[in-house]
């Protein structure tokens, strides 16, 4: 323990609460409170109602939720496949090539998402690959953005994997493909599910690239939230935002359940 005096400890905890609550807990509480209100002109929201959720769970909003879920699941699975493949291929490369591969795959993090959106828009509004106006342009951009994260986390997990396991498998006569399927991938499973959850959450909340790309019939939740707040419907927007958070958390929770099972097997 760093601080021994009881008084100093309480003082520090008070500082923590004063900083932590308003900065981090309050915004979430405000959005949650607003989603159940019609007015907010005092300290507390007023006009309690569930009408916002009525609007946020059907019609346009329901469609947006489906759109977001489909986009996020597709993009995560694609990103996980490509990222894992790249990480596995990279692990077998010489150091020089591996560095290069890592650098290329991490680049989408450094490039602003808006620019990724713009570039995908520019590239796929013209032949040979005409994706503009389809859902695939949104999914491609999301995949590009989250692949970097999938690759990073799988690479890190691979670097931590004790080579003794694959060597034991090889000494028992298992060929590289068999080692991959029966030893390395199962051992990576916890990290893979963690990466999948990360990719899913990122894609669910993606706004920057999506704003540049979304066709009218493929509007994900963040865009809908922006549209609502832009036209002044802040309370409906909050309800949709709560739906977005809840959907994300629900999927993350399910994924983490799989992860616990995988690591305790």
């Amino acid at each position: 323990m760093l601080v021994h005096s009881r008084k100093a400890r309480w003082a520090l905890w008070a500082v923590f609460l004063v900083l932590f609550l308003p900065l981090f807990a309050l915004p979430l509480l405000v959005v949650l409170g607003a989603s159940f209100a019609t007015h907010w002109s005092g300290v507390l929201p007023s006009g309690p109602t569930t009408a916002n959720y009525h609007a946020a769970t059907r019609g346009e909003a329901l469609q947006a939720l489906t759109t977001s879920l489909v986009t996020a699941v597709t993009a995560s699975l694609l990103a996980l496949t490509v990222g894992t493949w790249a990480a596995l291929a990279g692990a077998a490369l010489k150091k020089r090539y591996r560095r290069l591969l890592d650098a290329v795959f991490v680049l989408p993090v450094a490039v602003p998402s808006v620019v990724v959106g713009l570039s995908v828009l520019v590239a796929f509004s013209q032949p040979p690959l005409l994706l503009n106006g389809t859902r695939w342009i949104v999914i491609s951009a999301h995949t590009v953005l989250v692949t970097a994260f999938a690759h990073q986390s799988v690479s890190a997990a691979l670097a931590r994997l004790d080579p003794a396991y694959e060597q034991a498998a090889a000494s028992l006569g298992a060929r590289p493909a068999y080692v991959l399927l029966r030893v390395r991938l199962p051992l990576l499973l916890p990290s893979l599910t963690a990466a999948a959850g990360l990719c899913f959450a990122l894609s669910m909340g993606e706004l920057s690239a999506t704003m540049m790309l979304y066709p009218p019939d493929w509007t994900p939740l963040p865009v809908l939230i922006y549209a609502a707040t832009d036209r002044g419907a802040l309370f409906t927007g909050s309800a949709v935002a709560v739906v977005l958070m809840a959907a994300t958390l629900l999927v993350l929770f399910a994924v983490s359940r799989i992860r616990t099972r995988a690591s305790y097997r």
């Binding site: 760093l2 400890r9 915004p27 490369l93 080579p163 802040l234 994300t248």
Partner: protein, 289 residues
């Protein structure tokens, strides 16, 4: 977001077989290894590198035709661009500095002056990272907006509102690697220091801070890049007064349909961000080694 990147590098290479006292030599590489790396690289090239190259090309081809640096000279001549560049360039470091100070302080309390529920707070931070950034601005709209708690104060439409939102959203990105680094810090070191008579501030300065530097460097540079690229927070303020480079790209491309102009801004933005991100990779590798 970005938890993979925030992972402390010190955690790497933990469990390796002992014996021989040396890192085992890599198994013989198969010559097909490069071939196996080809499919994912090809996909990334098609969906990321090729589009990026097209952006660079388009930035050099104004609507009037031909190849020229016209879009760039127009850009640097325009007041709006210089303003956006300046806003981006001061806002990001300021937000990063705020995140570092706040994140270090809060992590320190969670890790070393633990209170009941400190674990739950750490979990909350993980959850917090999985929410999109614009939620913060949405909340601030209620607190500081025209109809909100604090009232008609036009705080959110100033850069200070954006700064507050960015510090709020990105501080957990600093705390996560810091908490991981603190968890690895040997408590015996702290006990030794305090048994030698060092007081808390001295221990923080001489024992904890040096250990936390790699994590601070890594988290800080990541936040810097993410702030440079942040779009959602700025978009949701609806402020005309605060324009950053990503906002300008969006505005030019979608609102004005000026693609060469948007591409030129994008190129400038990419150069700044990748430059800083490259620096971050070098620094964190150094610090982790």
């Amino acid at each position: 977001m970005a938890e993979a990147l925030a992972e402390p590098r010190t955690a790497r290479g933990g469990a390796r077989p002992r014996g021989g006292g040396r890192k085992p030599a890599a198994a013989p590489r198969s010559p097909g290894a490069l071939l196996w790396a080809l499919p994912p690289v090809a996909l990334l090239a098609l969906f990321f590198l090729y589009p990026l190259a097209l952006v660079v090309r388009q930035s050099l081809h104004p609507d009037t035709g031909g190849t020229s640096l016209q879009p760039y000279s127009d850009l640097f001549a325009s007041e709006a661009f210089r303003h956006a560049l300046w806003t981006t360039v001061w806002l990001a470091p300021a937000a990063t500095a705020g995140c570092l100070v706040l994140g270090f302080l809060l992590s320190l309390i969670i890790a070393f002056v633990p209170f009941p529920g400190a674990k739950a707070v750490a979990r909350f931070i993980d959850v917090y990272l999985s929410f999109p950034s614009f939620l913060i601005t949405l909340a601030l709209l209620f607190i500081y907006g025209t109809t909100g708690i604090v009232g008609s104060f036009q705080f959110l439409t100033t850069p200070w509102g954006v700064l507050l939102a960015e510090v709020t959203y990105f501080t957990p990105f600093v705390m996560r690697p810091l908490l991981a680094a603190f968890a690895q810090l040997d408590t015996a070191q702290l006990e030794a220091a305090s048994s030698l008579g060092a007081r808390a501030p001295r221990i923080v300065r001489q024992v904890i801070l040096p250990e936390a530097l790699p994590a601070l460097a890594a988290g800080g540079s990541l936040v810097l890049v993410l702030c440079l690229n942040e779009f959602g927070i700025v978009l949701f303020t609806g402020a005309k007064g605060v324009t950053t480079l990503p906002m300008l790209v969006y505005g030019k491309a979608i609102l004005e349909s000026d693609y060469p102009g948007a591409c030129a801004v994008a190129v400038v933005n990419v150069l700044i961000s990748t430059g800083l991100y490259g620096l971050y990779r070098v620094v964190s590798r150094r610090a982790g080694a």
